[in-house]
Symmetry: none
Subunit: 416 residues, 2 copies
């Protein structure tokens, strides 16, 4: 079964609000085998809303509408729904008691404006709103379904989880859609595509499989999608394709789904009962910020420093002044001295460091903006690697932090 | 003039990626008097894309398309554009040199897959991509315009700012829409609304003015919008409303438009020729990460530490072990010792510190998750302030970093 999502609201069309509802609803519908094939956003005007309803209803099994159900003058979705289904408003006692309950809990009397929210289109199934005053509606007609919900994200979310998803789960759609995402870093999209080769070779003979490349500054995600009449077959196909991808690009795959590299590194450190300390120059604290985003990171992350000035590199981590003078702050020698220095000072198992030119200015012909050295030190020794991560300051910091964490991951797994 | 936005990509339809491009593009087009009246999202399939092009082209003056311009097999937008405009691909030398330049800067050879990205539809104006390899296109036909850009947000953003908005600015639409945003922090939306009072009192008699409250974890933005036939009138109305808002909420307004608090603090430090050092516990490096996001921050940010373990607080910044034992790590005494300690060690003018319970677990009845002390030290003395920023780990870190930077701003401006 396929679905179209329609969002209603001028605040979306002027870009005041980012639409997070559509992604949430799509992801949820996917879990019960419903594919969203179009998303539309229109303003608070009757003709535009009616046109979008007509269009969606013609070409889709399911239409999910959000927005415009509030109590004020600019909320017109309810009346448009009545017009579309050629019906009228009737009072719903359950909805009214819910409104009374909500106002009582805030110590407020029910206003006439809110009492009107107990009126719902005749002929619909009413979706109770546990979080607010506007009811949702579900219409079934001509083997099609329209769901109408408020646009307030937490009201909509509760309706989806408590009513809409259970409703569609009871109506098997005849097929399932499954996705799996493999997250890679340290390789450009085009080089990854070359390594993987002809994508058709990856797929199972039964078909229904697709692969997407999703690039971002932190790496390329590979998303496998399978559509099948059987959940068992779909999962088997996913695993087969995943195994083939891993065989071709093992080294670069650090995680799956929404897993972040700092979580993967944290888990490896925990498993190996190892600790880490960090000395950051050009990344300015971002590596430590990411490490400490993980709950429980205090078990392996002890301390670290941001050393922006040359003086602080010398006084805090005993970076030899000679190295700074001879090679400059952005050099293999200083990266290694920082990594070894922070490891010694903290008694951590691993010392990690960065020193580079974050830009947007400050580069030279020999050391351009974007140049960075990442240092690593453990009981096997100390070394540094050179990268160039471009002239955009924030993305430079993000890509450097990702490369530094990836270096730790590969060392911990002895990849390469 | 009106516009429809079309986003292309299966990752949007399955809810894997939240579409932030549409809001950004809509907001930008607004500034040059173009109203977005519909937004559509479709998948990576030729028939769906073509249908959405036909539909949008019929009913709008401008169509802005994003997504599906990458180098891999699932990127089909370019070929659909050729079909729609009945044209073919030709090699663009400027685009090719841009690809060469990008790869050279990363020390990589241009792959055949990427070389193909220098092919663009004949008859379009090529929009150069300063951030990546895929060119954008602009077509003008029958007094209508289609703009096609990559879906990668920072590539699209640069094209909008450098090319698309300047292009449409040169074609006056008959009226202007102007927005101004005042950024506040440290006050809840409802209290700010109370301070501001009846919004109608703010507005100019000519009308066409509106005010929106946009809350976020870092503070509430106040957005003034003016629509007028005259740019001069619009700007004057904006300034009048801004002055009235500032009179009512001066203390909380730290910046305008997209200005970040770390930029404001950085500018003040530069003006006063002062330096800062930071000792972070619960924020894990986020404050320093934010400070160093500002180009030129090395002029006032010298160094700092992330001290997660009690041992590191003692050994690195001479926090008295007695304070830690008697009051615990999350206490006024330790926050003050950290701020004074990092100031002493670094010889900076200001020492700033955080110590708190970031959660999601680890709280007690007396010291719940979300509790944080922020310490401040300068040549006038040392003090700490207590806050509670909730149980969501990342938002706790963000709100703490914001409160710490705001504390510095108010001290530097002697507000309060």
């Amino acid at each position: 079964m396929n679905a179209e999502l329609i969002s209603i609201g001028d605040e979306l069309l002027i870009g005041q609000v980012i639409n997070t509802n559509q992604a949430f609803i799509a992801e949820q519908l996917n879990t019960v085998g419903i594919s969203v094939t179009r998303m539309t956003t229109v303003g608070d005007r009757e003709q535009e809303i009616l046109a979008s309803f007509n269009d969606a209803w013609k070409s889709h099994d399911i239409v999910v509408v959000t927005g415009g159900l509030g109590p004020t003058h600019d909320d017109i979705t309810r009346s448009v729904v009545c017009k579309f289904f050629n019906t009228n408003l009737v009072r719903n006692e359950t909805a009214f008691r819910n409104i009374e309950r909500l106002f009582a809990s805030r110590g407020l009397p029910v206003t006439p404006l809110n009492e009107q929210q107990a009126l719902v289109p005749a002929g619909c199934v009413v979706i109770q709103n546990t979080q607010g005053t506007a009811s949702g509606y579900l219409f079934e007609k001509d083997r099609k379904t329209m769901v109408v919900m408020p646009g307030v994200p937490y009201e909509m979310t509760a309706m989806m989880e408590n009513f809409v998803i259970p409703h569609f789960s009871r109506k098997p759609s005849g097929f399932v859609v499954r996705h799996r995402t493999l997250k890679t870093t340290g390789i450009a999209e085009s080089l990854l595509a070359e390594k993987i080769g002809d994508v058709n070779d990856l797929f199972v003979p039964e078909g229904g499989v697709s692969l997407a490349f999703l690039p971002s500054p932190l790496g390329v995600r590979l998303r496998i999608s399978v559509r099948s009449t059987s959940a068992v077959d779909a999962d088997r196909a996913l695993s087969e394709v995943e195994a083939k991808l891993r065989a071709k690009a093992h080294k670069y795959i650090y995680g799956t789904e929404k897993e972040e590299l700092e979580e993967v590194v944290g888990r490896l450190l925990l498993e190996k009962k190892m600790t880490i300390a960090v000395a950051e120059s050009c990344t300015g604290g971002l590596i430590m910020d990411r490490l400490t985003d993980v709950p429980g990171s205090s078990a392996y992350f002890l301390q670290g420093s941001v050393l922006y000035s040359n003086e602080s590199k010398i006084s805090q981590l005993a970076v030899p002044e000679g190295s700074l003078l001879q090679h400059g702050a952005v050099s293999r020698e200083v990266a290694e001295a920082l990594a070894a220095g922070v490891r010694n000072r903290s008694k951590a198992d691993i010392g990690l460091s960065t020193t580079g030119i974050a830009g947007p200015s400050g580069g030279t012909a020999e050391k351009p903006v974007g140049l960075v050295w990442i240092g690593f030190s453990d009981n096997q020794g100390t070394f540094a690697m050179k990268f160039n991560f471009g002239t955009h300051r924030r993305r430079f910091k993000e890509r450097t932090s990702q490369a530094a964490l990836e270096l730790v991951r590969r060392k911990l797994l002895t990849i390469d």
